[in-house]
């Protein structure tokens, strides 16, 4: 297997760090040296040639090849077994409806939220419970980081270059979770989005930072979900009123109560579609009166449809803490789900 990328001979691992940092090729953390052997191992795992085209970023016409993704994955700390998820995430991000250039360049400063589903989660050692939106495990940490390093190095999504984020958020370091499919009766996110349950899948979503909620004082599904709806409405007032995808991360304590009451993910989506609504006149309460104009009575919904809600079962076994994860900006970027290991040349 002949690798195409330029090679550098360096004297030590310390030299590798300074060489890569000084060229702007990192996220500021140390990187694993991307040796030809490590990169070939990733490509062998996915049975891909180095020059296999994963896709083209259409705005700037940049080609994304398997070899370059493997180099960045190794740098992020990926083992070969993590690489199929990285490939799938890139395939998803390169779909037209994801609007990769806009999501990565915007002053809005979103990150790529990645949800893993299916058998791959257990095969690569994902942990879907404690600290799930933090650094919960090696697999999700390095997969999320591989996406960010790839954006930096392949599309120049560095701060001040293509990345024009005013603030950004910590998810731009790594923002990947595996759904806790074992501790829920619900269908997985990927299954709801059309992937056969026996397949593994990646969902990508251009997302703001998580907004944590807490409600441990009720068993009523409606009251639990009213807390999530309130946070979605707060986001609509304070950040963006436009409808799009929202992800909500529901921990086991809330899931148990919702499931005992017979609520499915579809029931949750339908409820939040009706409840997460505000009128434009509410902008007067948060300092945005100047843009209400004559539309004060217009009602806006957080979700473009109930199907736009991405319900993710994840989180530690105790605690009534959930999260909503808002979209970057309405429906300008749409969440995309693809199967891991599917043929890149085939339309699914």
């Amino acid at each position: 297997m002949n690798l195409i990328s330029e090679k550098f001979d360096l004297d030590s691992i310390e030299d590798v760090q300074e060489f890569y940092h000084s060229r702007g090729w990192t996220d500021g953390f140390p990187v694993v040296p991307p040796t030809p052997e490590a990169v070939r191992a990733c490509l062998d795992w996915v049975l891909m040639a180095p020059d296999e085209l994963i896709g083209i970023e259409p705005v700037r016409e940049r080609t994304i090849t398997a070899e370059k993704l493997a180099i960045n994955a190794v740098m992020a700390g990926c083992l070969p077994m993590h690489f199929p998820a990285v490939i799938a995430a890139w395939m998803a991000m390169l779909k037209e409806e994801f609007l990769l250039h806009g999501t990565t360049a915007s002053t809005g400063g979103c990150a790529i939220f990645i949800v893993l589903n299916g058998p791959v989660r257990n095969e690569i050692g994902c942990q879907s419970e404690f600290n799930v939106l933090g650094s919960s495990d090696r697999a999700t940490s390095v997969i999320g980081r591989a996406i960010r390093l790839g954006l930096i190095n392949l599309l120049e999504v560095s701060p001040g270059a293509i990345d024009r984020s005013t603030l950004g958020h910590p998810g731009k370091i790594s923002y990947c979770v595996a759904e806790d499919e074992e501790n829920t009766e619900w269908e997985s996110l990927a299954a709801i989005r059309g992937i056969p349950p026996e397949a593994s899948a990646v969902t990508v979503f251009a997302a703001s930072s998580p907004r944590q909620i807490m409600n441990e004082w009720t068993k009523a599904p409606e009251e639990i979900l009213d807390t999530y709806a309130a946070e979605m409405k707060a986001n609509m007032r304070n950040y963006s009123i436009w409808a799009g995808n929202y992800a909500i991360v529901i921990p086991k304590q809330h899931r148990d109560l919702l499931q005992e009451a017979g609520w499915s993910k579809a029931d949750i989506a339908n409820y939040l579609f009706e409840k997460a609504r505000i009128k434009r006149q509410e902008w007067a309460d948060v300092g945005k009166a100047s843009v209400i104009r004559d539309k004060g009575d217009f009602e806006y919904c957080a979700l473009a449809s109930p199907e736009h809600l991405l319900v993710v079962a994840a989180g530690g076994p105790a605690g009534g803490f959930g999260a909503i994860i808002p979209p970057w900006l309405g429906t300008k970027s749409q969440a995309v789900t693809v199967a891991i290991g599917a043929c890149v040349d085939c339309e699914v």
Binding site: R60, L154, L329
Partner: protein, 93 residues
């Protein structure tokens, strides 16, 4: 310990964006605006239109607005822009 490592960046030459040929005078010309549609573009382009018409004798100003301010302009807008002498694009942030 010597290490051979690989370049993680895109090495194939990227397509450069080129500026259109400069024009010598605005007088009598058709100028098009391609707005990204953000709130701030309205005041900016309105002021610019007034300046172009009153101070620089521009013949006509045509406004176009993208449907998605984070995506490239639609093909139809680019096709209509072929009839202009000059295009001005702008951000509204």
């Amino acid at each position: 310990m010597a290490l051979t490592v690989l370049n993680p960046t895109t090495e194939s030459p990227a397509r450069d964006f080129e500026l259109a040929p400069r024009i010598q005078s605005l007088a009598g010309k058709t100028v098009g605006f391609i707005s990204n549609g953000k709130e701030g573009t309205k005041g900016f382009f309105t002021h610019l239109e007034n300046l172009l018409l009153s101070k620089y004798q521009v013949a006509e100003v045509i406004w176009e607005t993208k449907s998605n301010y984070s995506a490239p302009a639609e093909t139809e807008i680019i096709e209509r822009a072929q009839a202009w002498d000059l295009a001005i694009t702008g951000l509204g942030d």
